[in-house]
Amino acid sequence: MRYLPLTDEDRTSMLATVGVESVDALYRGVPKAALLDRPVDLPPHGGEIEVERRICALAAQNIGASTAPFFLGAGNYFHHIPATVDHLIQRSEYLTSYTPYQPEISQGTLQALFEFQTQVALITGMEIANASMYDGATACAEAAMMACRVTRRHRVVLSGGLHPHYRDVTATNVKFMSLDISALAPDANGTEDAAVTIDDHTACVVVQNPDVFGRVRDYSNLGAACRAKGALLVVVVTEIVSLGALMPPGDMGADIVAAEGQSLGNPMSFGGPHVGLFAVREKFLRQMPGRLCGETVDTDGKRGWVLTLSTREQHIRREKATSNICTNSGLCALAFTIHLTLLGEAGFTRLAAINHARASTLAKKLGAVPGVVLLNETFFNEFTLRLPRPASPIVDTLAARGILAGVPVVRLFPDQRDLANLLLVSATEMTTDDDMDRLVAALGEVLK
């Protein structure tokens, strides 16, 4: 077996050093009844050729974005990943290291995290950011719990423009804490005024920008309303590329930003692993969840980095920690920071501009299909269409024609049959004119 270096000769002589006859003697603490005397009922080991064949056969049953006109988004986006990103994250020194517990031999990871934290703070317009969370949805849940700790209040208001997975993950996370969730109705028409829901018990209002229907919002007034009533404003961003074109949440008065960073450097990969971004105002630093990388010096006075403020964390504080999180999304954060470093200011803003331009072109073309109505006044790279008939069967029909047309809104809001005709459509720098023309033609035919 190629991953096991010990030979039978090694095993025999090592057992002699240990002073036992066989490995079984080392398992003597295990009750006999629980000890298996044969391999479990699973296939035996396979060589690379065989494993590749088996897994590639499964892959071949799927239709991927690289091979079909593709228009899905809803919190997971198809973007180009520069070759440099995937090469660098596969360097052994990054890929196969652990959490940087010994900083003297982990400066590569730590310096990259320090740069990551700075980049996240810059694009969100916030003061500080942590070293990542699992994903955007869990970051959102952590933001709500943190707001309750900061304000010592127990009510969390979730906007109807928030991605339903984020809503559900947040509600599930606090289910057994004494916190109340007020989830507002799906805001398909963009008429929600969350400010009127704030009362003296409200810890935070959680909104999303662009919202799950794709609309671009300015939450400055809501931020002011929150401040006036002692609540925090939590802004969720599920498409991080949008921050290359939009006003950052910090400028709108956000107290916490919880975001999904997948769009930079990370493949869709069927929804994970991704990277949660978490940025806050500095005054809330000590209530933050997750790891933080900080600058310091070594005994020679040279600049270096360490994991810091760990008295917030589970390995020190146990049940009094700000969160139970330990492992986060280190390598996905590295992919994110490398991609953003490659882009720089000029590339990031250009990428955002292209995304918006592509979506704007697509919206115009689709809006001209008879029976199709564009719901959005504003959008970044994703918008909602109202079709004359339920969207799910239409999407299935288009998939059978080899076109992945978007996300039916009922897939996200299964209880809202009144949203059955709505379809979320996204375009990115990967969307070609040909992709658009094929979608427009096929949709026109299906709706005839």
């Binding site: 077996m1 991953y3 010990l6 090694d10 240990v18 003697a25 398992y27 603490g29 629980a34 298996l36 391999p39 479990v40 499964l58 892959a59 799927n62 239709i63 809803a74 997971n76 440099t84 994250i89 196969t96 652990y98 959490t99 003297e104 590569g108 990871t109 310096q111 990259a112 320090f114 699992y134 994903d135 869990t138 991605h163 559900d168 599930t172 289910k175 671009v216 990969s269 069927f270 692993p273 990388c293 310091t296 360490v306 589970q314 049940e319 969160s323 999180i325 330990c326 492992t327 986060n328 280190g330 390598l331 490659l342 720089g344 000029a346 590339g347 704007s360 919206a363 504003t378 897939r411």
Partner: protein, 503 residues
């Protein structure tokens, strides 16, 4: 050799590297993108109107930046990484190749289910392997890491209890447990009570039984435990817990010791997470991503969270909402369907190892740890007698009166070119050295580690205190001032203040 001073600060292949922000030239980019086409601007009023402040670099600079920095990291690909309870085993590159296949890396979680049947089949296959290996009937795949799995399993327990109208308040956690255990139980709304360990390093069965009142919801056990020992009373613990109407949660971080040899389901476990980034070889990536699927007993299976995959006829279906017959999901733990890219890697590893290979791997992991125990125990102070599982625990009694601490010892190991073991954990012994070699270390590598630890122990006993306090001397950095980092947190780069502002 340490007193060589160079003009650049570099030391041969050991290279200094500035931050990206210190290499910025405005307008430069490493990604060539076309001009956006002419279009109607639909962004509305909330557009960006000020610069972001991101630095501009070219592609060669970016490549060089991350390559130079990478040289300051130790890695399992470079040598033994014996962090106890972390299972730093070899990360096969086949796994990476598989996860990057078209049809796996480029699929979206909300595609029509008919277009991703292969992905569901893969998730179903992974769950089947985990169920067979643990002897437990159901698997919740979505948790993102071990701690997330703990919370997932505890929520299933609490949901099962509430479904029968049973409002219990307390979770018992052994004092040797990972810090995530009490933190997760707290997030599940429970009060935490500690259970003492015996002089043998196991859970005190009598003390635990005495505490098993009707207010106890669950007991969290790590097995093998964090002292590297099998909880030999496990079956009796489970029986007692069940008799008291409570559930048994098992922290599966140490599953590598027993995979293919002991099935936790046969020991009465109700819920257990598996760290795919430990036992099943997926890379830890400097801090993640992991994956922490939770296996569930028959009693807890109906309470698994959404979403999950079920077989239906010839194909598979993803259940995304409540309402299935017999299922009482308590909610959703994560966006989309879990760490799919990690699932692909773990399945690639399992298929490579097979049932025979996994059984050999656990045997070799346990043998390697016992070999280190045998080689070190005459010199270092073994915390608990008898054979260990896949990791061996020493404490710092052998350093008594030497003036050398566990930390000093670890820093001296760095100069010897190995990554230190886990230090100061578990908390139940003084100055812990928790050593987990894993099965992917050969004998030469184990001997290298044993020889250097014995050599360092000899120097410690000779009271060469200055040598240890001064370590590491040969790493990219000397000891870093962690107190300063915490007292005056600098968590991001800031542009230098303009010179004029000083006046």
């Amino acid at each position: 050799m340490t007193d060589v001073v160079t003009l650049t600060g570099n030391r041969g292949l050991d290279l200094e590297e500035k931050l990206i922000f210190e290499q910025d030239k405005a307008g430069r980019t490493a990604v060539d993108l076309p001009e956006p086409e002419r279009h109607d601007n639909r962004l509305g009023p909330a557009r960006r109107t000020r610069p972001i402040g991101l630095p501009g670099l070219s592609e060669p600079q970016v490549v060089r930046h991350y390559v130079r920095m990478s040289r300051n990291n130790y890695a399992i690909d470079a040598g033994i990484y014996p962090l106890g309870s972390c299972t730093m085993k070899h990360n096969p590159r086949l796994n990476e190749k598989m996860a990057r296949q078209p049809g796996l890396a480029d699929i979206h979680p909300l595609q029509p289910q008919g277009t991703v049947q292969g992905a569901f089949a893969l998730m179903h296959e992974l769950a089947h392997w985990l169920a067979e290996l643990t002897g437990m009937p159901a698997v919740a795949l979505s948790p993102a890491a071990g701690a997330h799995g703990e919370l997932t399993g505890l929520m299933a327990i609490r949901s099962a209890l509430e479904a029968r109208g049973d409002a219990r308040r307390v979770v018992l956690v052994p004092e040797s447990a990972h810090g995530t255990n009490p933190a997760s139980a707290h997030m599940c709304g429970y009060e935490i009570e500690s259970v003492a360990a015996t002089a043998r390093g196991r859970v005190d069965l009598a003390a635990m039984k005495a505490r098993l009142a009707p207010d106890v919801a669950a007991v969290m056990i790590t097995n093998p435990n964090t002292c590297g020992l099998f909880e030999d009373d496990m079956a009796e613990i489970s029986a007692a817990v069940h008799a008291a109407g409570a559930f048994v949660y098992c922290d599966g971080a140490n599953f590598n010791a027993i995979v293919g040899r002991v099935r936790p389901g046969d020991l009465g476990i109700d819920a257990m997470h598996l760290n795919l980034h430990k036992t099943f070889s997926t890379p830890h990536g400097g801090g993640g991503p992991g994956a922490g699927p939770v296996t569930l007993s028959k009693a807890l299976a109906p309470f698994a969270p959404l979403p999950y995959v079920v077989r239906e006829g010839e194909g598979f279906r993803l259940v995304e909402q409540a309402g299935e017959t017999g299922a009482h999901p308590y909610g959703r733990m994560k966006g989309f369907h879990g760490q799919f890219g990690v699932f692909v890697r773990a399945l690639s590893y399992m298929m490579s190892m097979g049932s025979d290979g996994l059984r050999q791997a656990s045997a070799d992991a346990v043998l390697n740890a016992n070999y280190l125990r045998a080689r070190l125990q005459g010199t270092m102070s073994l915390s608990y007698e008898g054979p260990c599982m896949h990791e061996v625990l020493f404490d710092d009694h052998f350093l008594a009166d030497t003036g050398v601490s566990t930390l000093d010892f670890a820093k001296a190991m760095i100069d010897e070119g190995v990554h230190p073991m886990t230090m100061y954990f578990p908390l139940i012994v003084h100055g812990a050295f928790l050593i987990e070699p894993t099965e992917t270390e050969g004998r030469a590598s184990l001997d290298l580690l044993a020889d250097l630890m014995l050599g360092l122990a000899k120097r410690a006993k000779a009271k060469e205190v200055a040598f240890f306090k001064d370590s590491p001397k040969l790493a990219p950095r000397r000891r870093l001032d962690e107190t300063r980092a915490a007292r005056n947190p600098v968590l991001r780069w800031m542009p230098p203040a303009p010179k004029a502002a000083a006046e």
